[in-house]
């Protein structure tokens, strides 16, 4: 907590987090995968309004950022499953706090 005279500063690490999780769908995908690992089609069903190509882009970005692991399960049938890495899983307390806040001030399921 700052004193009146202190310069307000901005946390660069936090800046990067907001840039990553703030990007449309990314935070929501992390919160979906906090429930359990999921197939592409399940994620698509979970988030209405998200197209296949954008979902693929976002998952690739989360894989690149080290939050999500793309796991190929050799079949047949061959299946791909997405799961959080340790780093992604470590977002659970933060996402739970955000969900608590959202529920408290906006209620469940209320459109924005």
């Amino acid at each position: 907590v700052g004193e009146p005279g202190d310069a307000i500063h901005c946390d660069e690490a936090l800046f990067n987090v907001f840039a990553l999780l703030g990007k449309r769908w990314n935070g929501l995908l992390v919160s979906a995968l906090l429930q359990r690992p999921a197939h592409f089609a399940e994620l698509r069903r979970a988030i209405p309004g998200l197209s296949e190509s954008i979902l693929a882009d976002r998952l690739a970005e989360l894989v690149e950022a080290g939050l999500v692991l793309r796991e190929v399960i050799h079949g047949p049938p061959l299946r791909v499953i997405y799961r959080l890495t340790e780093r992604g899983e470590a977002l659970r307390p933060a996402v739970e706090e955000l969900a608590r806040w959202a529920l408290r001030y906006y209620g469940a399921g209320q459109p924005g």
Copy 2:
């Protein structure tokens, strides 16, 4: 935590939170104001790369969302100060968790 058979669902309240805080600069502005109330010029100095007009837009949006209060202090000189509302202040635990996560996995001040 979901069971393997459960449908992955997406929390609509959380969706709205990510839409609001995820928007470029908004989360960072909230985290800056968690330090203390600040004048417009202080916020601008705190966040390099943020123009005056965009800062004004974002603050107006956060006021509209009920997270920030725009307080006019009659002078002279007349001054405007921005402070978090109770709702904005209630984001503190979530932002602290995010900052902890960012520090752990990305380190302090490391550019993204």
